[in-house]
């Protein structure tokens, strides 16, 4: 498991350049361009179970869901940040990608620290220190539990 650490205001153009917006739609097309202009190492080296740390306002910018789609497909376990931009936040819920808003955990992290995450308990351990993070409200957990917004929508349509 690798922890990737970035700073404040990581925007959607950094996560996935706008120039590919209308030429890449599937996860396989998206993956090679993830974080291309921020960290050229990421796309080749990110693996299932990795965690991303970010500062404040993570995901600001465009309504561009390729980052969430791609990061989920790569198997990124969670993004831990001081705060998230709202469209990115919704997008992650829609894809079933775990976001952890926990400024204390971000501040505590030093390179090489072990990170353990318990989403059900709402707890993250960084270098042996535990931090609690707020869990999602029930309306939103229902979307995640269904595996994302589209599976959830299909369930709702069936019930109609």
């Amino acid at each position: 498991m690798t922890v990737w650490k970035y700073g404040d205001d990581v925007n959607t153009d950094m996560l996935f350049p706008g120039k590919y917006t209308y030429t890449c739609a599937t996860a396989e097309e998206i993956k090679p361009h993830l974080l291309e202009d921020l960290d050229p190492e990421f796309a080749g080296k990110a693996r299932e179970g990795d965690i991303i740390f970010g500062g404040k306002n993570f995901g600001c910018g465009s309504s561009r869901e390729q980052p969430t789609l791609g990061l989920k497909a790569v198997g990124v376990r969670a993004i831990v940040a001081k705060s998230f931009a709202r469209i990115f936040y919704r997008s992650s819920i829609n894809q079933g990608l775990l976001l952890v808003e926990c400024p204390e955990a971000v501040d505590a992290y030093k390179e090489g620290d072990g990170v353990e995450l318990d989403a059900t308990a709402g707890e993250i351990r960084v270098g042996g220190k535990a931090f609690a993070f707020p869990k999602l409200p029930p309306e939103i957990l229902a979307i995640r539990d269904a595996g994302g917004l589209l599976p959830y929508t299909r369930e709702m349509l069936k019930k109609k």
Partner: protein, 422 residues
């Protein structure tokens, strides 16, 4: 306790007597905006659409604007998918290439009416706050679900009240005002929150309010909204909207705000957002003389008639410096035609400007006006993120149309007030 604009609209749209910040409500938006991304959106739900169709055909508004005319076979195929979808599902609100940038089109065609709730798969959907609309961005997957179900969830936001005093001085634009505010509160200063503008709003035209509301998302806001006054009603009447067709909503005097700010518009000066964040604000005077390789006037932020008129008043009879180039990007065909008929485009073209078709073009770096490594662009667009205009080793500076026009003459960042007194 009184209610904010957001609390009132979300209560009405979720069928509740009242709602409070933090509460999650289920709403059926009046409209869902999608653009070139429509093909990717419908691609996610191809089989579902066969089975269920679109929940409410009146709801979607589709505007092809992002990569127009198609820059490659792949873009052309995307456009075709969107056209075929609109035709098959009998969607009445489909606008093909050349009509304009989606946000301008939603305003001009009378879809963005006061009191309405509009969501869109574009972050600058917040623009319609200029005429008292609750409008905000969602993503592609949520748009797909909305096509099928016609409803979604929204969290009731806290609200920031910004009171404006006085009047902007000559050579200072609404863009300078909103960039100053973003510089003060930060790119996340209004995260998850609504922003209401109060005070001397009457001193701002609808076009200026559009520029400010458009930039709401650059301070993290969910919505950025103005009251509906005589100017807003006059604008809506000018595009053929009957006053009975809408019901304005506004905050109560005693509404609760999480933060209150006030700005003296007379004190605002020309500013630029320096690379690579929108809140990296400097006074033009601090960076004056900076060499600029490309100037861009237009986009959904500043591509309206008053923006081009302001630029033309500075560029009339002058030439763009040989060390830079000027791109002119009208926000809609209606604006393009009016600017043409009034001779404004002729002035900009004779000065050396390159007029582009009404669309998003250079703003997202997909085609038209991409930058080379090491180049600097001075733009009236809304974002200066690294890589935004197609090259991560280029720099984007944001400013108002007057500043860009004055700078185009010299190929260097120039305070527009100097150019106006000559």
């Amino acid at each position: 306790m009184g209610k904010t604009f957001a609390e009132k609209v979300l209560a009405a749209k979720s069928g509740q007597a009242e709602v409070v910040p933090g509460q999650i409500v289920i709403v059926s938006p009046d409209h869902l905006l999608t653009h070139d991304n429509t093909s990717a959106i419908v691609g996610k739900i191809k089989d579902d659409l066969e089975e269920h169709g679109v929940a409410r055909a009146e709801m979607p508004v589709i505007v092809l604007d992002h990569v127009i005319p198609a820059a490659s076979e792949k873009h052309a195929a995307n456009h075709r998918t969107a056209r075929e979808f609109a035709e098959k599902q009998k969607l009445p609100h489909f606008y093909d290439i050349g009509v304009g940038v989606c946000h301008q089109v939603l305003m001009e065609k009378g879809h963005a009416l006061p009191g309405r709730l509009i969501v869109g798969s574009d972050s600058h959907t917040c623009s319609y706050g200029a005429v008292g609309v609750f409008s905000t961005g969602v993503d592609r997957t949520e748009s797909a679900a909305l096509y099928l179900r016609g409803e979604t969830w929204l969290r009731v936001p806290d609200t920031i009240k910004i009171t404006l005093h006085g009047k902007l001085r000559p050579g200072v634009s609404a863009k300078d005002l909103v960039l100053t505010i973003i510089g003060d509160i930060g790119a996340d200063g209004a995260a998850y929150q609504a922003v209401e503008f109060h005070g001397d709003v009457k001193n701002l035209s609808i076009e200026e309010r559009f520029t400010i509301a458009n930039m709401g998302v650059e301070m993290g806001a969910k919505i950025a909204v103005f009251p509906v006054d005589g100017a807003a009603r006059a604008y809506l009447a000018s595009i053929g909207v009957d006053e009975k067709a809408y019901e304005p909503v506004w905050a109560d005097e005693d509404a609760h705000y999480i933060r209150k700010l006030s700005y003296d518009m007379d004190a605002i000066e020309p500013v630029v957002a320096a690379p690579h964040t929108v809140d990296n604000i400097k006074k033009v005077s601090e960076l004056e003389g900076l060499e600029i390789d490309q100037c861009l006037i237009g986009t959904c932020t500043n591509g309206r008639l008053s923006d081009f008129a302001a630029a033309a008043s500075i560029l009339k009879g002058k030439k763009v410096s040989p060390r830079t180039r000027l791109l002119v990007l009208p926000a809609s065909r209606a604006i393009y035609e009016e600017a043409m008929e009034k001779g404004i485009l002729a002035i900009l073209s004779r000065a050396g400007g390159v007029v582009l078709p009404p669309g998003c073009g250079p703003c997202l770096g997909a085609h038209q006006g991409a930058l080379a490594p090491g180049e600097k662009c001075l733009s009236t667009a809304n974002r200066n993120f690294k890589g935004r205009m197609g090259c991560k080793e280029a720099e984007i500076y944001l400013a108002g149309p007057e500043t860009v026009a004055a700078s185009a003459i010299h190929g260097r960042l120039t305070d527009p007030r100097k150019e106006m007194t000559r």
